[in-house]
């Protein structure tokens, strides 16, 4: 009857202190009818995986501007799988060099967004990834 609510964890792993982008995305997802759990700055991969487990999210959105994505993302993916949450779709946004994008996708990231990405695209991709596989 009621449309299934998509739950998204928006997290900022690592040490950079800029969360404007994460907040803009969180708001846009809310306005698209999703339930967004926002965890704040400077999260460790362990904290993010734990929050994803407790909140039973469909999607984890990671905002990374520090350049540490090649360390942080694989660790988070690994922890999610270890917790039995391999089905959770992981999206990455931030400053990601072009050459890293295919490697992230290969690891299991669903999509990567750089500066200038449109929130409508992110919303559309999340809906497709979540509802397309489980609906």
């Amino acid at each position: 009857m009621e449309e299934r609510k998509i739950r998204v964890l928006v997290a900022k792993p690592g040490l950079d202190g800029h969360d404007r982008g994460a907040k803009v995305v969180a708001r846009a997802l809310r306005d698209a009818g999703m339930e967004v759990i926002y965890t704040g700055l400077r999260q460790t991969p362990e904290m993010i995986a734990e929050a994803a487990l407790q909140e039973d999210v469909d999607v984890v959105g990671l905002s990374i501007l520090s350049g540490a994505h090649m360390e942080l993302v694989p660790r988070i993916l690994e922890l999610l799988r270890a917790n039995g949450q391999g089905h959770v779709k992981v999206f990455v946004g931030g400053i990601i060099p072009d050459e890293d994008v295919p490697r992230l996708l290969e690891m299991g990231v669903t999509a990567v967004y750089g500066p200038g990405a449109l929130t409508e695209d992110i919303i559309r991709d999340i809906r497709a990834a979540v509802l397309g596989t489980t609906a």
């Binding site: 009621e2 299934r4 609510k5 739950r7 969180a26 708001r27 997802l29 809310r30 306005d31 698209a32 009818g33 999703m34 339930e35 967004v36 759990i37 926002y38 965890t39 704040g40 999260q43 460790t44 362990e46 904290m47 734990e50 929050a51 487990l53 407790q54 909140e55 039973d56 917790n83 039995g84 949450q85």
Partner: protein
């Protein structure tokens, strides 16, 4: 293994899954709830309510830390943090975890954010059911943090055994923030951010309001003479609980041990006075009645043709029927 059995065995992923199913009113979730219900009734449910910006999440963060680190043996603690859903999109940004990062990495703590999903009164419709799941899963202390609209959040008093009402100095009119129902539901009053100016006047305002709600025998000096005003005979003196007022600075952990002490005393008071049983009874009765109302409404609507309902609604809209006449018509038609 069934979902319920996995949860009883301590599987956190299963627990998390069930919380989602229950929140979505999924039949599978209901089935597991039925199986878990005999295991409930052990947890101490602590409600935390108060206006936005009073520091409810930070307070809960500190309280949980205290339970986990200072209380022996440390109880397992769950937190249900309710935030409002947007009435326009139905979406929500749930940000209470930001203030609870200290609790990360402790497997004896489980935090779950919840959107109110259109429900008023500070809780979501399924908050009580989520608390039951945590109760059955062996969480001995369950904090329920309400939306924080400030007034009108009385549902929490029905659900929780102990309700904390959180205030902070300098939030404008002190009386305004706590007027009407919100003060009456307080079992414990907390003035958080007590290092801020204005704490004296906030405490004074609270004391005055408490005095109105719980009149006591008072002895004081008036023009040098000692005067006594007896408490009105209607005052429930014996075994009544007068809400204590606590000052805390959650961000620094000040006043937390005393507050935890008060919470324990309140629990003791409930058990000794028989109020624990009375509250449980009232709560379960209210829950039954809500379910009954919902079920009857659904059954009724399923038996009545949508066109008929629409016709009657149209007549009410045209003012040719009053809502009461409409109901009379609908209910009689159903029986006939």
């Amino acid at each position: 293994m069934s979902l319920a059995a996995s949860i009883l065995a301590g599987d956190r992923l299963a627990l998390s899954r069930l919380l989602t199913l229950v929140e979505n009113n999924d039949p599978q979730g209901l089935e597991a709830l039925n199986e878990l219900f005999p295991h409930t009734g052990r947890a101490h449910l602590i409600g935390v309510t108060g206006a936005p910006g009073t520091g409810k999440s930070s307070l809960v963060n500190r309280l949980v830390l205290h339970y986990r680190r200072q209380v022996q043996p440390a109880p397992r603690v769950a937190v249900i943090a309710v935030d409002p859903s947007s009435p326009f999109s139905g979406g929500a940004v749930l940000g209470d975890r930001v203030r609870m990062r200290d609790l990360s990495g402790d497997s004896g703590v489980f935090i779950r954010s919840m959107a109110s999903r259109g429900s008023l009164g500070g809780l979501a419709q399924t908050t009580a059911a989520l608390a039951q799941v945590f109760d059955a899963a062996g969480y001995e202390i369950i904090f329920i943090e309400t939306v924080g609209a400030g007034q009108n959040e009385v549902d929490i008093a029905r659900l929780a055994h102990t309700t904390l009402v959180v205030e902070a100095p300098g939030l404008g009119d002190d009386i305004q923030a706590i007027k009407a129902g919100i003060l009456e539901i307080a079992d414990i009053l907390v003035i958080n951010k007590a290092d801020r100016p204005g704490v004296e006047s906030t405490e004074k305002a609270l004391k005055n309001m408490l005095e109105l709600a719980h009149p006591l025998r008072r002895v004081f000096r008036h023009h040098g003479r000692i005067e006594v005003i007896e408490a009105p005979s209607t005052a429930p003196e014996y075994n009544s609980w007068i809400p204590p007022i606590h000052r805390t600075v959650a961000t620094e952990g000040k006043g937390i041990p005393e507050l935890v002490e008060s919470i324990a005393r309140h629990r003791q008071h409930l058990l000794e006075s028989g109020d624990w049983q009375a509250r449980e009874r009232a709560r379960l009765q209210a829950e039954l009645e809500d379910l009954l109302r919902e079920t009857l409404l659904r059954q009724f609507r399923s038996r009545i043709a949508p066109q008929t309902y629409e016709q009657v609604l149209q007549q009410v809209l045209e003012r040719s029927l009053s809502p009461w006449e409409a109901i009379h018509l609908l209910t009689n038609r159903r029986q006939g």
